[in-house]
């Protein structure tokens, strides 16, 4: 186990690290099913959730994970904070350091911002999404969901569909899936597939039909409305026509193929409601796993041992 001080991305983790996090998440799943959803694992630890970019689901998921582990938490969002008053990231980091906090969960619009912060403060830094770089806890919860469904990740074929170019979720998933032995493909309009993506070890599939026939896991990415103004897409209707995942298109899928989405969904754009709410969808189990995975990451970075997780959550 060589997780180190921070979790900035999956690119620099190895398979054993990832497996350890997923294994540690298993016992933590059960805490959220209890009547009293709280264990004293992180009692006395202070955690700052530093969100420079709007986020609902990731921030809430982290907050639940922190609170269920009994940490003391503070939320900072960019509007109304010193950040909005022009404070630099360096100064924000130094001020946090001066307050002797234990962990920082950071979401930032610039790629590399989490690494930047991690290099400058002694606290543990967890990347909750930096620009178009990585969103490691999202990919970890996705890996856990795939493992739950198929028993193992090794050998599974996963195709990410949509805006790969701007997606940190795609990058973290690519690294994580490849390290765990999955075959990975990407699919989408060529305007949203970055040059050099093959060098990362993935294949590029041209049509969504091809992707659906090929894969065990169809991972549908969110299409952001601003992609229209950037000229990457003619219209949302056109996107849905060519790449939208509909039940009609799923008729050629294998029987046990599952559909994933990191949320929030644009129903009727990248995914139709009958698919999102259908039998193949594991979108809500992804959300549930998010809390467990984040608890595992917090626990491990705080110095917890994977093999003691079961004891820790019961203890005291």
């Amino acid at each position: 186990m060589s997780l180190g001080k921070d979790l900035v991305g999956l690119e620099h983790l190895d398979r054993a690290d990832i497996t350890a996090i997923l294994d540690t998440a298993e016992p933590f799943k059960e805490i959220s099913e209890r009547a009293i959803k709280k264990v004293p694992v992180l009692r006395g630890k202070t955690i700052v959730n530093l969100f420079f970019e709007a986020s609902t689901r990731t921030r809430i998921s982290f907050e639940f994970a922190e609170k269920r582990l009994s940490a003391d938490t503070v939320n900072i969002s960019s509007s109304g904070s010193s950040v909005a008053k022009g404070e630099t990231l360096v100064d924000t980091a130094r001020n946090l350091e001066a307050m002797r906090i234990d962990m920082v969960v950071v979401r930032h619009g610039s790629s590399g911002a989490a690494r930047f912060l991690a290099d400058r403060i002694p606290s543990n830094v967890i990347n909750a999404g930096d620009g178009q770089h990585e969103h490691p806890t999202q990919a970890l919860l996705d890996l856990l969901t795939i493992r739950d469904r198929f028993g193992e990740i090794e050998g599974r074929r996963v195709c990410l569909v949509g805006d790969i170019l701007h997606s940190r979720v795609a990058r973290s998933n690519i690294w994580g899936l490849l390290k765990c032995g999955a075959e990975v493909a990407v699919c989408g309009p060529r305007t949203l597939i970055p040059l050099g993506i093959e060098d990362l070890g993935v294949r590029v599939l041209t049509t969504v039909e091809e992707a659906i026939e090929w894969c065990d896991v169809l991972y549908v990415l969110r299409i952001q409305l601003e992609r229209m103004t950037g000229g990457y897409l003619p219209s949302l209707r056109e996107y849905n026509r060519v790449f939208g995942v509909s039940s009609a298109r799923l008729t050629h899928a294998s029987d046990d193929m599952i559909v994933m989405h990191p949320g929030p969904m644009n129903r009727g754009v990248e995914i139709d409601s009958d698919v999102a709410d259908g039998e193949r969808s594991v979108i809500l189990p992804q959300v549930t796993n998010g809390v467990a995975v984040r608890m595992a990451v917090l626990y491990l970075l705080a110095g917890g041992q994977p093999e003691l997780a079961e004891t820790a959550k019961g203890g005291a």
Binding site: S111, G112, L195
Partner: protein, 435 residues
């Protein structure tokens, strides 16, 4: 001050490609000009004698692409510190770019830069000669041509909107036509901003992994190709700044073969580093044009060796520490280069035996002088005594803390290099002495 006392450099190896000289000779300076280069010179009795045995004596280096930041960016660099930094790097002439605040788009601003450099020199705090380059368009806005004649009268040696590419091909045509009256080049930072699309590093696998927006090779190559055709149409002198792609090298090579008047620069960093230097979001490797792939690095390097890119220019772009100490997207483009260029090029081109020392001196002095019509780049008797004394064998490690520049933003920190500047003489006046 120019040449108060005669100066005699004895025992050195004179390397002057402009006269095809590479042999031991003495060099005598009188009245700020080269008087003689011969063996066994005794010189006048009052001459200052400096023994340079074991060292190389060459024409002072010339950099046609530096940013001195004054007026408006004095926290990064000033005309004084930039000129001193240049002298410490062996440069005797630098061309100061006009993207200051306000920009050098009127004769008064151009005159200020020239006068300021001379004022410090008179006070004994001078460095290299500073030649201002005028803005090509008012406010560098790419719309209305500046009063080029007035700028030239005030001392401008060329025009450019450097940092802001001249996008409008019609305007580029007018510039390449209009400047012919004055015999000056139009310097172009070749970049199509629509293709760049807010990119911050080279487009490709590294940018994809880092999640950074990429700048494709086509962004440079498309504009270089376009400008070459306009230069061919007009007969104007097009100078392509900091070539970074193999496509642009190829376009320039073909243009030369057709006789188009196009000249071009290679930077030390584009010849020695690739996009890999940006890993870990190193803002000291963020510049524009960006560091490219290995094939591009080799093409630029080979272009310089072949002479297709006839000169080395640093694009010395100082930035304050705090400006670089931030998110990669928000950090400014640019690195300093004046104090590392010679040694980096010695290490990467001469030590590797791809270029002889005379050829390197040519690319850093004689060739830019000849291509841009600069009075320098030679030790021919009668020419200005702009001289650099070099130790070609000295090994050292680049330490930004030792820079004379106000800024430290370099990707070469900690690099082992060969070749040291020992003394820089401008118009007979020693402006740098390593001691």
């Amino acid at each position: 001050m120019t040449g108060r006392r005669p100066l005699l450099l004895t025992g050195g190896r004179i390397v002057d490609p402009s006269q095809s000289i590479d042999e031991p000779r003495d060099l005598l300076v009188v009245g700020g000009r080269v008087e003689a280069i011969e063996r066994g010179l005794s010189g006048p009795d009052d001459a200052e004698r400096i023994d340079v045995t074991g060292l190389v004596v060459a024409p002072g280096l010339i950099d046609v692409h530096v940013h001195l930041r004054e007026p408006g960016g004095e926290h990064k660099e000033t005309i004084r510190t930039g000129a001193i930094s240049a002298a410490a790097g062996g440069y005797t002439t630098v061309w100061a770019m006009p993207n200051t605040d306000p920009p050098l788009d009127d004769p008064a601003a151009v005159g200020y830069v020239r006068q300021e450099a001379r004022r410090w020199a008179r006070r004994g705090e001078g460095g290299a000669r500073v030649s201002p380059v005028g803005a090509a368009t008012m406010g560098l806005a790419g719309e209305r041509m500046t009063e080029v004649g007035g700028l030239v009268e005030a001392g401008a040696v060329a025009v450019t909107d450097d940092g802001h590419p001249i996008a409008d091909p019609g305007l580029m045509r007018r510039l390449l036509e209009y400047t012919q009256t004055f015999g000056i080049p139009v310097l172009q930072h070749a970049e199509d901003m629509a293709l760049t699309n807010r990119g911050v590093m080279n487009e490709g696998a590294v940018a994809t992994a880092l999640g950074l927006r990429g700048i494709p090779n086509a962004s440079e190559a498309a504009v270089v190709a376009r400008d070459i055709y306009i230069a061919e149409l007009t007969g104007g002198h097009l100078h392509v700044q900091h070539v970074s792609t193999r496509e642009a090298v190829e376009a320039i090579r073909l243009a030369r073969e057709r006789g188009v008047h196009v000249t071009a620069e290679a930077s030390p960093h584009h010849m020695t580093l690739t996009e890999e230097a940006v890993r870990d979001y190193r803002t000291d490797a963020k510049m524009n044009p960006p560091l490219r792939r290995e094939a591009d690095r080799i093409a630029v390097r080979q272009g310089l060796i072949d002479g297709v890119l006839e000169m080395i220019a640093t694009d010395h772009a100082p930035h304050h520490y705090e400006e670089k100490e931030r998110e990669f997207d928000d950090a400014p483009f640019g690195i300093v280069g004046l104090e590392t260029a010679f040694a980096v090029c010695m290490q990467e081109l001469v030590v590797t035996r791809d270029l002889g020392l005379p050829e390197l001196i040519d690319r850093m002095s004689c060739a830019p002088a000849a291509a841009m019509g600069i009075d320098g780049g030679t030790l021919r008797p009668g020419s200005p005594a702009d001289i650099v004394v070099l130790d070609p064998d000295a090994r050292w490690t680049i330490d930004p803390a030792s820079f004379r520049s106000k800024s430290r933003n370099t990707p070469f920190a900690g690099r082992e290099v060969t070749g040291r500047v020992i003394r820089t003489i401008v118009g007979g006046d020693t402006r740098f002495d390593a001691g």
